[in-house]
Every structure is written in C-alpha cells, then in structure tokens.
C-alpha cells in the first residue's frame, strides 16, 4: 500500500511545469476562465495611464463620436475618450471590490471567530449584526456623504458596513462546526492553550469558506459601487468610475449608446470573472457552502 502511494507521488512530482498547469486548468476550468478574464482586466486597469489618453481631457469638437480607429470606444458628450475613461473606471471598480472584500473579510473573520468561540458574547454581537444587516448600503452611503465629503473611502465604508454581518454569519457557523471537531478536543487534550487553539486550529479551517465568501463580496461591492455612483451617491463625478460614466451618458443613450454599453459590458465582465473564480473556488474548497446571491 505504501509502495503504491510512493509511485504516484513520484510520478506527480515529475510532471513538467507546463503539463501540471494544463492538468490544473483542465480540472478547474471555471477558476481558470475567471482568473484569465480577471488578469486581463487587472492588467488593463494597471496599464491604463500608458494605454490611453487623459480620461478627463475634454474636446467638445469630438463629442459623441461613435467608436472608430481614433476613439476605440467612442467619446461622450464632452468629447472625452470612453476607452480611457473605461480603463480608468476599471481601477475604481477593482479597488472598491478588493478593498471591500479585504476589509469586510478581516472584520468579519475577527467578529465571527469571537462569536463562534466565546458563546457569551455571541448573542449580543449577532443581534447587532442582524441590525446592521437591515441597513441598505445605498441609504447608508447617502447618509454618510451628507455627513462628510464624498470620496472613495466613504463609498468603501458604506459598502463594507452592511457586508460585514454576512461574513460574520458564515465564519461563525463554520467556527461552531469546527468547535465540535475531534481534532479540537484532541488539541485540548494535548495541552493547547486557548489563543493557540484559535490561531492554529480554528482560524486556518475557516479560511476556505471565507475566501469563497470574499469573492462574492468583491463582486457585490463592485456592483453596489456602480449603483451608488450612478445614483450620484458614490465617488465624486470627476472620477471616471463605471457608474459615473453610465450616469453621465444616460441622457444620450439613444444617440450614443456606446457611452453606456461599453462600461456596462466591462462591469458585467468583471463581476462575471470574480464570480467565476468564486464558484470555482467554492467547488474546489467547500462544495457545501451555499451561494449567497
């Protein structure tokens, strides 16, 4: 029996790098597709300043031009290049999506572990979470912007707050199930102390479902940001986010549909890419975790 596992392990180790990648892609086509799509979008966003002209430069003489060789995605009512604006908009969306996922992931993880592990605090924290969950992010964003100056940070905070309870719920339930696992009893019987038990045995086992949840929150965050910007409650209008581009092109939709369609398609592709990765990771890491949306 030992001999057999030895052989397969040796064979696996000897696969050339390319073949290993090919195998990995064949086994996880969803993750691969999402990753490739996302990689393309991220590179476009990073390289935007070098690939395009100034997204804010107005040239009314070129306004509402359809896509052409000079203006790949056409121009808007101020003659601004939609290609430049869309690529710069990708930066806003990706920053918002990733930051929201990271912040709500970290806060949610901490609170979730506390709730799942220290049962006395659980009731109180979870009721507060239920309360926060009832706040619509759009209302919260409008309220925050009236209180402060509009900006990316405010948008991120407004999206993070209602997302945190969703992470807390997932992490808490995972921690509750981990607590009952024999390896926890086993670690305690081996003399492991409380903090070490959390850091070494509980936390790592919550990460797989948390990563999956984080991808969905990333996608949701980008959609909410676009919605907020479209409503004028998001990032300031001078920043070319996809929501802003669509909002500003709305009045010209009938004569210049590209002003709306192109950022819309990009938004859809980005969300799709992130969700594909999320689905793939879920199948790979934790098939039992239910989808959120």
């Amino acid at each position: 029996m030992v001999a057999i596992t030895d052989d397969t392990a040796a064979e696996r180790a000897e696969l050339p790098v390319m073949a290993r990648w090919a195998t990995a892609i064949r086994r996880n086509p969803t993750i691969a597709a999402g990753a490739v799509l996302l990689a393309v979008l991220v590179s476009l966003a990073i390289l935007a300043p070098w690939l395009t002209v100034d997204p804010l430069k107005q040239a009314t003489i070129n306004r509402l031009r359809p896509p052409s060789e000079r203006f790949w995605f056409g121009t808007d009512q101020f003659g601004r290049d939609i290609f430049a604006r869309t690529l710069h908009g990708a930066r806003v969306s990706l920053i918002v999506g990733l930051t929201v996922a990271a912040i709500s992931g970290v806060i949610g993880l901490a609170l979730g572990i506390v709730c799942g592990y220290f049962r006395r605090i659980d009731g109180i924290v979870m009721r507060i979470m239920d309360g926060i969950m009832a706040i619509p992010s759009i209302l919260l964003a409008i309220a925050l912007i009236t209180l402060t100056r509009p900006g990316l940070a405010v948008v991120i905070i407004a999206i993070v707050i209602p997302e945190v309870p969703r992470v807390v719920r997932v992490v808490r339930s995972v921690v509750l199930s981990i607590r009952g696992q024999p390896y926890i009893d086993s670690a305690i019987a081996g003399g492991t102390r409380g903090f070490k038990l959390l850091a070494r045995h509980v936390l790592p086992n919550t990460l797989a479902p948390l990563i999956v949840q984080a991808t969905y929150i990333c996608a949701a965050g980008m959609l909410i940001e676009a919605a907020l910007s479209f409503l004028g409650a998001g990032v300031p209008p001078e920043i070319p986010s996809w929501g802003n581009i669509i909002a500003q092109g709305r009045n010209f939709f009938q004569i210049a549909p590209w002003t709306i369609l192109i950022p819309g398609v990009f938004l859809a592709l980005t969300v799709l890419a992130v969700n594909l990765m999320g689905d793939g990771l879920r199948d790979r890491l934790d098939p039992r975790l239910a989808r959120r949306m």
Binding site: M1, V2, T5, D6, A9, Q181, P182, Y183, D185, S186, A187, I188, A189, G190, G191, T192, R193, K196, R200, H201, P204, N205, L207
Partner: protein
C-alpha cells in the same frame, strides 16, 4: 504500593447538570494504574468510561458538568488542586490521550510533522528543528514508512490506520507516563485494529508508558489489558486480572457481556449446536435519578430484594479480583 502507582483514582464522581436533572455519569469509581501497566476499562456505551478518562484530564465541559467528588492522584500530585496552566502542562506531556476517530482527530490544514512537532515544542521548549527531528523519529517508531516525506503530508493523504498511528505518534512524542486510549481502534477495520493494538503494546514495552485502554470490545481487552475494570451505569462493578476475569467472570453483568460476544469456536460446533447469542435483558437505567441498590439489579437474574435496596460494596474474592455483588456465591454456583 503508592510509589508503584502512577495514577490513583479514588471515588471519582462526575455529574452532568442537565435540564432533566443531575446525570451521575461517573458515580464513585476507584482504580489504580501501576507504572507501565495496561488497564482495560470496559462497559457499554454510556456507562461512564469516557467521562472517567476526561475527568482524569479535567476535560469535561465546564458549562454542564463538574467533578463533584473523589480525587485523582498522578505521580503523587492531586490533579484537582492544580491550576489550569499546570494542568495544560500535564495534558499531552505526562498524560496523553488518543481518541476514537482517527479520520477527524488530526487538524486537516496542518501537516503531520507540524502537529507532532507542535506538541513537542509546547511541552519541552526545544527548537523547531529538533522537534521536527523528533517528529520523524516518532513516525519511524509508529512504523509509518518513509517518515521523511510523511511529515510533509496532510492528514487527508493518510489512510485511517496511518492516521491513528500518527495520533499515537503525537500522543507519545513527549514520552508520557500515562496514555489514555479511548476506543482507539473502534473506527478501524479488524486487520488494522490488530496492527494498531500490537503497535501500542510494543511501544508500551519500549517506552514504559502505562496505558488505560477504554473499550466496549472484550476482544481488545483480552488482547491488551493486564487488569480490567468493568463499569456499569457509572460504577465499577468488577475488577480483576485479565486471566481471572475471563476464566471466572463473577459479576452477573460481566457474565452477560461475555455471553453477548458471538463465538465461532470449535466447542460450540462439536456440541452440535451453536447457542443463540444471549443478550442482557432490559436497558441501562437512566442516570438522572438516584439508583438505590445495585444499578444492575433490574436486569439481573440473580437479583433479590436486598440488591434492589442496598448498593453492594466491592468485595475481594481472590487476589486482585473484586466484585460488587451481593449474590456472588449464587452466581458462581450457577456457572
């Protein structure tokens, strides 16, 4: 006598405080464990075997249960008097425990080597590198082939038998004086079970660890234990050297257990009939009400009025053999 014993449990009583009342899971159990000895604790599910083990290590859930009486002396120290930190230093170091489920008793996200080495570092404070060497040594000791590579592997890459070996490696990594094995082979198939038991006995000889073998399987007891404690409804009903117990089971419950083991041996074949498997009539009493008299009386064919009224004391019948029964004379006659 005391110097010989590494562990002395006296009148241990552990109660669970539930909504249905106080459950007397362990109700005055006493036994000694000599250095290097293997003691079997046998009884059916819910008789208090596991709670006894957990009580020794003070691992019973504090929200619902408490050790209400008795004492546990380990190496001359009263474990009840120790602080939680002192207790943690004993768990996994001086008294180690292995559990029933090898499939889930290892943390799935840490490698085997890490899990062994962590135990070593926690209790001995040696550098990580030395602890990993120790991990390799332990895997060799529990006969996991190719230890060098196995310490890099995760639990899911090992079979059930190998995982239980890895659990034993963790448990023995700090040379504990006592190993408590709670149904260590129940989840394994029979051939692997035999291998694991052989391994445990071999290591016991090699390392001088005393073992408390908790099981419901009389076969496991016969193979491994030197002395046996039979438990019923939270109480010790019989204690004997293993040969004496199998040669002359004295408590009616022990007899019932023995008759309930299927036999495929030649004696029965020659007699021309294989006797119908005998079960013990009735069910285990609810432990949330005080039991007057002998706990086994309602299911016992020998029970008298006295049995139902008055709990029998543990009486020595021969060297090392003690039984808690009023009707020992009648039971032995019936044999």
């Amino acid at each position: 006598m005391t110097a010989m014993n590494i562990l002395e449990v006296r009148d241990l009583a552990t109660h669970f405080f539930t909504l249905d009342g106080v459950v007397r899971a362990v109700d005055g159990v006493s036994f000694d464990l000599a250095r290097g000895e293997t003691l079997g604790i046998v009884g059916e599910s819910g008789c208090g075997k596991s709670v006894t083990a957990l009580s020794i290590l003070r691992l019973i859930p504090p929200e619902t249960s408490r050790i209400v009486g008795g004492s546990v002396r380990f190496d001359g120290r009263d474990l009840a008097a120790l602080s939680e930190a002192e207790m943690r230093a004993i768990r996994g170091h001086r008294i180690a425990m292995i559990f029933q489920e090898p499939m889930t008793s290892l943390n799935p996200v840490l490698t085997i080597g890490t899990q062994i080495a962590e135990n070593v570092v926690r209790h001995t404070g040696v550098p990580w590198r030395a602890a990993l060497d120790r991990a390799r040594e332990m895997l060799d000791l529990v006969k996991i082939a190719d230890a060098r590579r196995r310490i890099e592997e995760y639990p899911h890459q090992l079979s059930g038998g190998m995982r239980q070996r890895a659990m034993i490696a963790i448990a023995l990594s700090c040379n504990p004086q006592v190993l408590i094995a709670d149904e260590p082979t129940t989840a394994l198939d029979v051939t692997i079970q035999a291998q694991i038991l052989d391994l445990m006995l071999e290591l016991k000889e090699k390392l001088g660890t005393a073992i408390i073998m908790i099981t419901h399987d009389l076969g496991v007891i016969a193979e491994t234990a030197e002395r046996v404690v039979v438990m019923y409804a939270g109480r010790k009903v019989e204690e004997a050297p293993v040969e004496a117990l199998f040669a002359q089971p004295t408590h009616p419950y022990t007899r019932g257990l023995m008759h309930a083991v299927p036999r495929l041996d030649a004696d029965a074949e020659i007699a021309g009939r294989r006797p119908r498997l005998q079960e013990i009539p009735g069910i285990v009493p609810a432990l949330n009400r005080p039991i007057a008299g002998c706990a086994f009386a309602p299911r016992c064919g020998f029970a008298t009025e006295r049995c139902r009224a008055e709990a029998p004391p543990l009486v020595s019948t021969s060297a090392g053999h003690a039984v808690a029964c009023w009707e020992t004379a009648r039971v032995l006659e019936a044999a």
